[in-house]
Symmetry: C2
Subunit: 109 residues, 2 copies
């Protein structure tokens, strides 16, 4: 408790582990995760929860079914609404903070 | 919807407005706020909610009643547990993301 978490330190833990988020902190039944985005993830959606992406390093694309791609640069965040099918991808190594309910499985449905 | 929010742009809106958080995005009934920390805030606590601080620029101190100060540097985050009396302060201009329930008043009790 009361021990700060350093994101740069956490980034090191993700080396070679794309699309494998690690839990950073839990706050009010929400979990903040950190993930390395590299290459392509699969299409999925979250039926009951919104998901927030915040790019702290790099640049990602979130493809949205039947809608424009979202280009998310360093220092930018976006919320994906519930039920929206999406596919994250990144050509370069990008590090992204995810804000999700504790019960959410990143893999989606 | 689906429009990215650029944190650097939001920082500009806070010029000359310390301790006046602005709402950035809402996700699952939680709100992510951005605030300029400069000088001292008052002692307060949140009875029913946890509060997350993430320093994106600068360096802050969170004084904790009857406990050690928390020194939070750029890229570091910490969760303050419910009911814990705390007092944020910063000698320099620091920009902090706050993650709180929508209903929370930053001013506390």
């Amino acid at each position: 408790m009361n021990i700060p978490t350093n994101i740069s330190e956490k980034i090191k833990e993700l080396e070679g582990k794309p699309w494998q988020p690690i839990d950073i902190v839990t706050v009010n039944n929400q979990v903040i995760r950190l993930a390395l985005f590299q290459g392509e993830y699969h299409w999925h959606k979250h039926q009951d929860e919104e998901e927030m992406f915040y790019v702290i390093k790099g640049e990602i694309i979130i493809k949205i079914k039947d809608n424009d791609d979202i280009n998310l640069k360093e220092g930018e965040m976006v919320v994906i609404q519930k039920g929206v099918e999406h596919k994250p991808m990144s050509e370069i190594k990008s590090y992204v903070l995810l804000f999700e309910p504790e019960k959410l499985k990143s893999k989606g449905d």
